[in-house]
Each structure stands twice: as C-alpha cells, then as structure tokens.
C-alpha cells in the first residue's frame, strides 16, 4: 500500500475532503469570533487591534498559507470527485428517483461548494487583497487609524473597509447568499466529514449531527448579520 494508492482510492480522496473540510471549519470559528468584534460599537478599535494582533503573529502567517492550501486542495479534490461521481452512470433513468430518501443539499455539495468558491474569490478581493497586498502595484492600501490621539500605534483600518464595502446593497445580498450556501454546505458537510474519517458510533454521530446543524446555522447567521448590520447602520 503506497501513499499514492491510498490517496487516489475512493476513500482516500474522501479522506482529503474531510480533513480539509474540518480544518476549514476550525478556521471559521476563529474568523467569526474575530469579526464579531465589530459589534463592540467602538469605531472598530477592538476589531482592528485584534486583526492586527493576528497579522503580527508568525503562527497565523503560516496558518494563512496552510489555509489557502486547504481551500485549494478541498476545491480541486471536491470538483474532481464530483466529476468522477457524475460520470459513473452514462445512461440515466427515465423516471428520476425524486428525493432519493436524502436531503437536496446533501446531493448538491458540488454546486454549493462552487457557489462558495465564487463567494470566496469576491471576499478575498474585497478584504484580503487590500489588506495584504495594498501598496503593491496599483492596489489601494487600507487607511491607517490611530486609537490614541496620534500617540499610539497605527492600525490598518479593516473596519472602515468593511463599512465602505457594505454600503452597496448588491454586495450585501451576495454576501448573504454566500452565507446561505455555507449554511447548507455545512448542514451536510459537518457530520459527513466525521463519517468519512470513520466515526461510526451512533451515539457520537447523533451528537455531531445536532452540533453540525447548530454550527452551520449559528455561524452562517452570525456571518450574514455582519454585512446586514453594517448596511442598516447598526454598527457605530
């Protein structure tokens, strides 16, 4: 059994999906937690200092690379698996087996993932690009802000960028749609990932199903509330 045999087998490829998927879930926990600081209503001080603190840590810089790698591997492996699976029935049925005893979102992981990918491209363009690449070539850098009357440290004002981006109702709608895709992707994906890595104890699976659904709904709703609350002017 070589590594290649393992990772090119059907279960090996699913294992890659599950491991990268669970990794992306842990990233979401950090991401939603940090972003929730915008609701401190302190003109972004808590959020900007938090984001700056993260950006100054080497571990986080390394994790950023791992995160990009994770998204790319998850995406490519997901699209490869979906295409392979779709090619296994060349002659289809005349009568479709309605709901197949399954949920529509479980059957649509490829589609939901593709929507997420489109969302991520837009999202990275909105925030990651100006924050990390601002100043290079023609990319407009973020403004700086100082929270101690010109005496203290200068922070990238990512908060102001959020406020500006989310003045556009179309962008707010696209973000909310992205969050809905995420919710459905995780409604299936959270529990499924643990099944894929081999968890087969019914007691834990039941627990993970509830945990996964709760996570999918709460985290996605929290993310969706960010553009909405900024657009409606609830964030000061």
């Amino acid at each position: 059994m070589t590594w290649k045999q393992m990772f090119t087998s059907s279960i090996g490829q699913k294992f890659v999906m599950a491991i990268t998927g669970i990794f992306l879930i842990t990233f979401l926990v950090v991401h939603v937690g940090l972003n929730a600081c915008i609701w401190a209503n302190d003109n972004g001080e808590m959020f900007n200092t938090g984001a700056n603190f993260m950006a100054s840590m080497l571990v986080i810089r390394i994790m950023e690379v791992v995160l990009f790698a994770g998204i790319i591997i998850h995406t490519i492996q997901g699209l490869v698996l979906t295409a392979a699976n779709n090619s296994k029935r060349k002659v289809g049925y005349a009568v479709e087996y309605g709901n197949r005893g399954s949920k529509w979102y479980s059957r649509s992981m490829g589609l939901l993932g593709t929507l997420l990918l489109l969302f991520l491209i837009m999202h990275i363009y909105h925030f990651w690009v100006p924050s990390r690449l601002g100043g290079i070539a023609n990319i407009k850098p973020l403004q700086e802000i100082d929270y101690s009357n010109g005496l203290g440290k200068q922070y990238h004002n990512l908060y102001l960028e959020m406020i500006q981006v989310f003045q556009n109702p179309l962008i707010v709608i696209l973000y909310v749609l992205g969050c809905i895709s995420l919710a459905y992707h995780l409604m299936h994906g959270f529990e499924s990932a643990f099944r894929t890595i081999g968890l087969h104890n019914n007691r834990y699976l039941k627990m993970l199903r509830h945990l996964g659904r709760g996570f999918a709904i709460i985290v996605s709703a929290a993310f969706a509330m960010m553009p909405i609350s900024i657009y409606l002017g609830w964030v000061k």
Partner: protein, 255 residues
Amino acid sequence: MEHYNMNLTLKIWRQKNVNAKGGFETYKVTDISSEMSFLEMIDVLNEDLINEGKDPIAFDHDCREGICGSCSMYINGKPHGPWKATTVCQLHMRAFKDGETIVVEPWRANSFPVVKDLVVDRSAFDRIIQAGGYISVNTGNAVDGNSIPVDKDKADKSFAAAACIACGACVAACKNSSAMLFVSAKISHLALLPQGHPERKSRAINMVAQMDKEGFGSCTNIGACEATCPKEIQITNIARLNAEYLSASLSSDKD
C-alpha cells in the same frame, strides 16, 4: 386486506443485448390480481407475449422470497419499487391502483451493464467478494460452534450486516453509483467477528481497490442507499468501512 383486480399500462425497458440501443415498449395488462407479486404480473405478461410469438421480457429472479438478491427492477423511479424494505419479488400488486401506468427500468450504472431488457450484469459484486470477502479456517474436524467467544452486541451488528443480499439496489439508488453500502455490509459482517480478523486489513484494502477498479463512485453520505435497501443495511456501516480502510491503509506494512 380487500382483494381487487386491476388493469395497468406498463412501460418496460427492452434491449436486445449489451450493445443494442434499447427503448421503452408499452404493454397493457388486464385483470391483474392485487394478491400477485410484481414478478407474477410480469409472468402473466410474458405468457401473453409468448402466445403472440413475441420475445418475453428478460428479468432476473430466483428465490422469489426476498433472500437471493437476484430480482432487480427500478419501478416508477425507485429500486425494488414503492415499498420500504422489500425486494421486487415481495412487492405485491396491491401497491398499485387500477388504471395506473408503471415504468420499469433496469439498474443503471456503468459497472452494471444491461445484458438484456431488465437483466444487468452484476458480476462486479462477485469480483469484489473474491478480492477479500472470505476468511481462513482450519480443515479437519468441525470445531465446536461456540469455541470462540463473541460479544453479543458485535454479533448482532455483524448479523444485521450479513443480511445484505447483494442485490445492487444501493448502487441503483445512489447518485454517485457508489457500491459502498454493499461493500461496507460485507466488510462489517467479517470485521466485527473474531473469525474475520486474520485478513481484516488486507480485506479492507483489497475489496476497496476492486470496488474502485470496477468503476463504482465514491460515497458522499447522502443516504439514498439506506433508504432503498431491501434489507435495511445501515449507512453507519459505511463509516465503519471508512475506519477499517483508513486504519488498514495507514498501518499496512505491505507495499
């Protein structure tokens, strides 16, 4: 249960051989008893066809009591028809109403090519079993049946998995044409018992390799297989298969 007779319109897939292009033929059957099984209804139609000098509809069947797994028809969009936990041979005509139109198709998957009409070639399953669905036993006198202690809970789970009749409905139902419910039932059946332990790792690796080679898809845990399985094999077995395969391939020292 009230007994009634019915007239039905059947749209049945006809295909001369593997390479022929098939198509649906429409047949009318009359005075079908609600007490008949679905296969008996097809028998009646076939007798008419034979009397008219036509080619009868080919379909697989053997035991007609829900244990051999050979009957296989995709009826009105469902493998084995509308009843839960039922093979086609155990599906009775009281599942249908007078005047209904019923569409009957063969299992569809690249790995199950249509041989003729409703008969598909399921030898891919046999080759998967040959790759590892066996155990080693000593020859000589039969040993005492209870010489190896088995935990009751494991024995029950193993027995439930062993109920799989290799009908292929799970593949037919799955949007990925995945055979993982079948393979996981066979793997679980043997992995849960001490008798299955000598080949536990190589079995998982070899059966999965054969399953992939046969061209079945990979499971995405949607649950269509479990919903359609006539023997109610649980999808949890697939998670067990994943565990068996991953631990075997991570720890295997064969290269």
